[in-house]
């Protein structure tokens, strides 16, 4: 099947994807970590995403083939086993330049010495800071000294200092964690005379060292396994720290290295690839003393950070250490992101710079004109006095000719008007974000009870982006679902048993087995169906009973689960914990145990199952692992009654192909119906079959199996053939329904997000069927949706299916004329589309010209589901959207496979749950549950965005108003930039007089309450439409600041025009009026007044008055006592009142008019909030009327 494209209004899982996927050691759930879905294709199409990812997905056969040839020397690293100096020597001999890295890790950015220069360098990468530095330097020139030298440096120094302090603290914490990490110790084989394992700190471990890990030890570096406590060379590791998967994975030591341990003088040279960041790939060979070569693959390596589990010890040789380890190479840290608002802000800053430049040019030009006009008078003007007569000869005093004077005036104008570009805004924004982060982390609604985790802000500079998200890219496993599989129901022998009740030990009894004087019982309870339980116990010899027994025996036997016996506080009781790579298998084994088929022990040769109280030993004669080609796995079991049986379990569509349809047709039909029901409930289904093998059959198989598994070339293919040969003519036993448990509140959260106009895309490594069934259960997909499914295996097929899909999209859009008119009205009768695409197709689409078409289709669809995607493809999909639209993207995930997507998206959110910390480390924000997205985006995001947007505009406005007051005054000073407002007030204006109210309002103001925002998700649209910060608002701001500056300047000017007022007195009036006007302007825009808002706004007006008085109490300043003389008159107060009212009235009119006649959604909701408060009954009536429709 090349392409599968069709209309499915039927919710049942669509036909499977086919094509072959490499058969490495993969288990059903394992596929979420595969990088490239099809390596044989990826080899021929170098277009796919990342290059390093290639190696990991090589098929086994390829890897075997590769091991036959040498790694080219220049790409290789030689590791002499047990000989670290020798290894370093080998590296030097190969001319690699830098030898292998030591094992010490360093994540800190600075050292004590390098802190100052590096930190300053990083800070000055902000253009704004350079601007302020230039201004401060200019001010140091005597001709330009507008402000006192120290005073002009103060604001910049303050900003730099605060930021440096913050950086230093963060770096200190990194250093501390580095130190902890470096000082852990592991057992390392000592030097040769007396080889013994001695503890050694991690930082001293070198490549080539042989390390011994004990149970639960973390690996200090990436190491190749040499031997383990298990005779077959298996070691189980938990890779939680690395890729976030919490289940055990098996790693193997090669047979060749098992026998001779390094203590006995084992020697060899490992030739491996250079360090790279692909955690799923490793390619090396081991040359033994005899010249024999053994190939090594990803299953032979234990990576740094993995913990050894369920294995007494393991010995390995370090091949990559320190910063070369895969985990370190992968933790490059989140690239620093800049918020959308800040990017937008740069545009306006540029505009303001032009404005500033224009003002400076006007002033200096007019000054030049004035000088030319008065050229002949300059000599005798008392206030100019061009010449200095004091020294015997006459010389010009501070006069450099008109051109030079004009230039100096220009530079001075830049200094005087500098706060047009608000320096305090940058520090205010940092503080506001800090405050917002504080409230986000303290929000009890974002606290996850089950994992005891708070919300965490890891990136402090993109808070406001949370209010503008348009696309959410979500991982499935662990994000939407809990990654906890739960057995729900089964159909056995054509009878549906889905009447499971909540398990209660007393009622149904979980099965506990007696071992000696101890009781062992499974750790997890599974609900059981009483009918089925009864049938198992009492059914005895009936056909149904036999079938049921076989079914559960199959569940208990046909898997790769390892039972672990755990101690409990009660010495008489032990818990059986089933560990394995596949959560599905775990669920099935727990289910079998609950029904009385308890898997007790597994060794490489046999398993022990407690069958309804009777312990039986089954020999595992053969095991065909799961591969995505066959989509099933099988075991061949030698039963206690000497029969040999084949048990197979697999996906329904693969199983029905190998089931013998000639017998039990009724059962097959019934099972199919039940399966259909299960999958429409969103359950993952597996079909179980069996066959009794005759002796000849078994022997044939055995010889074929042995031949295949010892083959040097194409082992995987041969094994697959053997498996396919034996897995046929099966007798159906039944099927299981497993629930991939959704996290709490996911469907509701998705519904809320959808209403908020956010598109949710799910990107998962899971199978298409699983993805779709989860899509249904979390209400992402609905039955009314038309599904477009694309899975193709070549570029041309992709192109074709994209074209078909596009055509269909267009047709459907035409069919529903509502589509264009009501993009906002969700579900208002238009046909909704869902695009389902798989990783295979994406290989051909991403980074080719087909991208455009995919995006075209995807943007028409309401839901996009990408299944079987590799981590880098996830990032590719995010990039696809990010680069083509202006909309904000958010990626949320929990595993290492989500890291690339989290870093790619504008906002990355890590779910910190049972899985590891990798996603969290790469994320900008982390939290415990998917559903927290709703309060995070709809409430905090909305608040942050509107606060920050307003704050930036307000800062532009208030500084512009003040600068314009200074500007108007130059017209009355012969354009010489004298400021009536004292220099101290000028400097303090943006730092002290007006900064704090904006910060407090930026942190605390709420336009709408949490309840309203959650109840009406549509209100989120304000951020998506950039309603709070756009060019229009910016221009309105500037117009308002021009008007207010005119009022502030000219009302006092006309009042005092013919009076004896001195410069300082009038300057004080202007300063006070400006501060009061901008604060009242702010006060009018505050939505919610609590005591802090009151305190800060009125307080800062008061503080300004006090500051002005203090400044005017310093005798050597020209303004000495001026404010007191001015304030003593009634005229002053009358003038001030008039100034304020004249300045503020237009804003009031504008606000009253817009609020009433052109209200935004937010305004309406605010009125409703207030209104509802007044009249409870009325509100409920309105709500009923308005919201019953949507």
């Amino acid at each position: 099947m090349a392409a599968n494209l069709g209309l499915f209004s039927d919710p049942s899982p669509p036909p499977p994807i086919s094509g072959h996927v490499p058969s490495s050691r993969r288990r059903p759930s394992h596929d979420r970590i595969s990088f490239a879905p099809d390596s044989s294709h990826s080899a021929s199409s170098p277009s796919a995403l990342g290059v390093p990812a290639r190696h990991g997905s090589r098929a086994e056969s390829e890897r075997l083939a590769a091991s036959q040839r040498d790694l080219p020397d220049e790409d290789a690293r030689l590791v002499v086993v047990g000989d670290a100096p020798g290894t370093a020597e080998a590296a030097a001999r190969l001319g690699l330049g830098v030898g292998p890295a030591g094992n010490a890790v360093r994540t800190g950015k600075y050292s004590v010495l390098s802190f100052l220069p590096r930190n300053l360098f990083e800070q000055f990468r902000r253009v704004a800071y350079v601007y302020f530095l230039v201004i401060a330097v200019l001010n140091q020139l005597p001709q330009l000294a507008v402000f006192g030298r120290g005073a002009s440096l103060l604001p910049l120094a303050f900003v730099l200092f605060v930021t440096a302090l913050k950086d230093a603290y963060e770096d200190f914490r990194r250093h501390r964690s580095d130190r902890l990490e470096n000082n852990r110790s592991s057992l390392v084989l000592g030097p040769s005379p007396l080889p013994r394992f001695l503890p050694k700190p991690w930082k001293r471990i070198r490549v080539g060292d042989v390390v011994k890990l004990l149970a639960d030890d973390p690996a200090p570096a990436d190491m190749v396994l040499l031997s383990t406590s298990d005779p077959t060379g298996v070691a189980y590791v938990r890779t939680t720290n690395l890729d976030g998967e919490s289940n055990l994975k098996s790693r193997y030591a090669k047979q060749e290295t098992l026998a001779r341990t390094p203590e006995d003088g084992f020697a060899g040279v490992i030739r491996c690839e250079r360090p790279n960041r692909n955690i799923y790939g490793f390619h090396a060979n081991l040359e033994l003393r005899g010249g024999r070569r053994v190939s090594l693959g990803p299953s032979n390596i234990v990576l740094r950070g993995c913990e050894l589990k369920n294995t007494a010890w393991a010995v390995g040789v370090v091949v990559y250490a320190g910063k070369d380890t895969k985990v370190m190479l992968n933790s490059s840290g989140a690239p620093s992101k800049r918020s959308r608002l800040e990017t937008r802000m740069n545009r306006e800053t540029l505009f303001l710079s032009v404005f500033l430049l224009a003002m400076c040019l006007i002033v200096c030009t007019l000054n030049g004109i004035w000088l030319v006009v008065h050229q002949n008078e300059l000599e005798l003007m008392q206030f100019f006095r061009k010449r200095d007569y004091s020294g015997g000869d006459e010389k010009n005093y501070n006069y450099y000719g008109i051109a030079m004077t004009v230039f100096i005036i220009f530079l001075m104008a830049v200094i005087v008007f500098q706060i047009m570009i608000p320096i305090s805004l940058y520090i205010s924004m940092e503080l506001v974000r800090l405050g917002q982060a504080y409230f986000m982390t303290r929000d009890t609604n974002l606290y996850d009870e089950s994992s005891n985790l708070r919300f965490q802000c890891r990136a402090l500079n993109i808070n406001e982006d949370l209010g503008q998200i348009k696309y959410i890219f979500s991982d499935k496993t662990g994000t939407l679902t809990e990654n906890k599989m739960e057995f729900q129901c089964a159909t056995v022998g054509g009878v549906d048993y889905s009447g499971g009740k909540a398990p209660s030990p007393i009622e149904t009894g979980f099965y506990s087995i007696v071992v000696g004087d101890q009781f062992w019982r499974p750790k997890m309870l599974v609900k059981t169906d009483p009918e089925l339980a009864k049938l198992l116990r009492n059914g005895g010899e009936t056909e149904e009973g036999k079938c049921a027994r076989e079914f559960f025996l199959a569940l208990a036997a046909c898997n790769t689960i390892v039972p672990l016996i755990l101690e409990t506080p009660d010495p008489k009781q032990k818990l059986i914990d089933y560990q394995g790579e596949s959560p599905d298998e775990q669920a099935l084994v727990y289910a079998a145990a609950a029904y009385g088929f308890v898997l007790v022990e597994r060794t490489s040769g046999y398993i022990v199952i407690d069958v309804l109280g009777d312990r039986q030993r089954f020999d595992v004669l053969g095991l065909h692992e799961f591969d995505s080609d066959r989509k099933r796995m099988s075991v061949i079991i030698g039963c206690p009654d000497k029969t040999v049986k084949l048990y197979v379990k697999g996906a329904d569509n693969s199983m029905f192909g190998v089931i013998d349809k000639s017998i039990n047709l009724d059962i097959i039909r019934a099972t199919e119906t039940h399966l259909h029901n299960y999958s429409s409930l969103g359950l993952r289904t597996l079909v179980v079959g069996t066959r009794k093998l005759s002796r000849t059959e078994f022997e044939e198989w055995q010889s074929a199996y042995e031949k295949a598994s010892t083959a040097l070339l194409g082992r995987a293919g041969l094994l697959r053939t053997v498996a396919t040969d034996i897995e046929r003519n099966l007798h159906i036993l039944g099927a299981t329904g497993i629930e991939d448990k959704l996290q709490k509140g996911v469907p509701e959260a998705i519904e809320s997000l959808r209403q908020a106009g956010i598109k949710v895309w799910v990107l998962t490594g899971d199978k298409q069927e699983t993805a779709i069934s989860i899509g249904y259960s979390c209400k992402l997909l609905t039955r009314e949706m038309t599904q477009i499914i694309i899975n193709s295996y070549s570029r041309e097929a992709c192109r074709k299916s994209l074209e078909d899909a596009m055509a269909m999209c267009n047709k459907l859009t035409e069919l529903s004329p509502m589509a264009q008119s009501s993009t906002t009205a969700a579900g208002s009768g238009r046909i909704r589309l869902a695009l389902i695409i798989d990783g295979n197709s994406l290989v051909y689409i991403l980074e080719t010209d087909l991208q455009e078409e995919l995006f075209g289709i995807a943007s028409k669809c309401d839901v996009v589901l990408c299944c079987r995607v590799a981590p880098l493809q996830k990032a590719g999909i995010v990039a696809l959207v990010k680069h083509r639209t202006d909309d904000m993207t958010l990626a949320i995930g929990d595993g290492a496979n989500d890291v690339s997507m989290i870093q790619m998206a504008d906002v990355g959110i890590g779910i910190s749950g049972q899985e590891g910390r990798q996603a969290v480390m790469a994320s900008d924000f982390s939290m415990g549950q998917f559903r927290f997205l709703v309060p995070l985006l709809l409430v905090h995001g909305h608040w942050n965005y509107q606060r920050m947007g307003y704050m930036i505009l307000y800062n532009f406005y208030k500084n512009a108003a003040f600068v314009l007051v200074l500007f108007w005054y130059t017209f009355y000073t012969a354009f010489t930039l004298t400021t009536a407002i004292t220099e101290w007030s000028s400097l303090l204006y943006s730092v002290l007089y007006t900064a704090f109210p904006t910060i407090v309002v930026g942190i605390l103001d709420k336009d709408l309450s949490r309840r309203t925002l959650v109840r009406y998700p549509r209100l989120y649209g304000a951020g998506q439409r950039e309603e709070k910060y756009n060019l229009k608002l910016f221009i309105i701001c500037l117009i308002e600041s021009v008007w207010q500056s005119l009022a502030i300047f000219y009302v006092p000017y006309f009042v005092y025009r013919h009076s004896t007022i001195d410069g300082s007195g009038l300057g004080d009036i202007w300063a006070l009026a400006a501060v009061i006007v901008v604060n009242i302007h702010l006060a009018m825009d505050v939505a919610r007044w609590n005591w802090m808002t009151h305190a800060i706004i009125w307080g800062s007006i008061l503080a300004t008055a006090i500051c002005v008085m203090v400044i005017d109490s310093i005798w050597f300043l020209s303004g000495y006592w001026a404010i007191f003389h001015v304030m003593g008159t009634t005229l002053f107060w009358a003038c001030l009142l008039c100034t304020i009212v004249v300045g503020i009235i237009p804003h009031f009119i504008l606000k009253a008019f817009i609020d009433y006649f052109m209200p935004s959604d937010i305004q309406i909701a605010r009125e409703m909030e207030k209104f509802g408060h007044l009249n409870q009954a009325m509100r409920s009536e309105i709500r009923m009327r308005t919201f019953s429709q949507s």
Partner: protein, 347 residues
């Protein structure tokens, strides 16, 4: 969906859960951290808008009327004399006239009092086009030198009037002091001289704290270029009130400075004779000189602007109040209809 399945048995006993509670990172609830502080939510409802405008109107119109009437009660007499005080034959070259120390600068002006002026009558001189706020000018002073005798040499900021040619410090130094206004006025009415009280024309704060009582003028106006008045070297700076007034530099290029006070009432239509010593050179840059006699009120001198401004704003606000009432009536977009139409269409 079952609720209990999947839960773990055994280890999570009572001890465990209490430990969990102890280690819980659950943020403590407080109204502050949950951003739920009690707050008032002002909204610009029609009632508030209309009453705000009405209130401003009601407050502003009386204030405007009061200021206008106060301004009306001020009697102001302004006489520009810079052009007329140059003898007819020298008017072509005023600069030569003013620079020549030999010419007679005395000038007599007759003024008619328009209305009854009650004492104290402020006598101002007004200069136009004189940029006392010019950057070169305002910087050219030394507050330290003015304040104390010991800082006599602190003349660095005073250039180009810091030191004499011989390097002696000028006290008071700087362009501002150097350019001290030196026209003098003497008044007589009905051939009886009117005393001008020149005491307390400067701010007490300046006299006490800015100008030292032990600082005496030194080397003042001794350079090649005389800028204005000279000072009596035997009077300390704190007593030189004309200087103190002059050194409070004006905010705007047109400014008045207090010359003195006449402390008798002047009757309407009374003729006052002013003898002016026209010494100060504003001819070089075309600056005007005016003599101003004015009574005072609470709004200072004669100034209709404030009254007019208040009346305009008040009137405008009343008008706006009316306008908004009309708008609200004709476009009855009351809350319920907005809630109904707005939300149902958009939310």
């Amino acid at each position: 969906m079952n609720s209990k399945a999947g839960s773990t048995f055994g280890s999570d006993g009572a001890t465990d859960s209490s430990a969990a509670r102890r280690n819980s990172k659950k943020p403590k609830y407080s109204k502050f951290t949950q951003q739920e502080l009690p707050a008032c939510k002002p909204l610009l409802t029609p009632g508030i808008v209309i009453s705000t405008f009405a209130l401003i109107g009601i407050i502003f119109i009386p204030i405007g009327l009061a200021s206008l009437s106060a301004s009306e009660h001020v009697v102001e007499l302004v006489d520009r004399y810079d052009a007329d005080c140059v003898p007819q034959h020298l008017r072509d070259d005023k600069l030569a006239f003013i620079q020549n120390s030999q010419t007679n600068k005395t000038c007599t002006r007759r003024l008619i009092v328009p209305k009854q002026m009650s004492s104290p009558i402020q006598v101002y001189y007004q200069l136009d086009n004189f940029y006392q706020n010019h950057r070169r000018y305002v910087k050219s002073r030394s507050d330290k030198q003015l304040k104390s005798k010991s800082s006599e040499r602190e003349t660095k900021t005073c250039e180009p009037e810091g030191t004499t040619g011989d390097g002696l410090a000028i006290v008071p130094c700087g362009l501002i002091a150097w350019s001290l206004f030196n026209d003098t006025y003497s008044f007589s009415a009905n051939s009886k001289s009117l005393q001008v009280n020149k005491k307390d024309i400067a701010w007490q704060s300046d006299k006490k704290h800015k100008f030292g009582s032990d600082v005496y003028p030194k080397n003042f106006q001794s350079g090649g270029l005389i800028g204005g008045a000279s000072l009596n070297a035997s009077i300390p700076l704190s007593e030189q009130e004309d200087l103190i007034v002059w050194m409070r530099t004006a905010a705007l290029p047109t400014f008045r400075k207090l010359y003195g006070r006449i402390e008798v009432d002047l009757e309407a239509n009374e003729e006052i004779t002013v003898v002016i010593q026209n010494n100060y050179n504003t001819y070089s840059f075309g600056g005007k000189k005016k003599l101003v006699l004015s009574t005072t009120s609470w709004i200072g001198g004669k100034n209709n602007f404030l009254g007019v401004a208040y009346l305009t704003v008040g009137g405008l606000c009343l008008f706006l109040a009316m306008g908004f009432i009309l708008l609200y009536v004709f476009k009855p977009s009351n809350l319920i209809s907005w809630l109904y139409c707005g939300l149902s269409l958009r939310l």
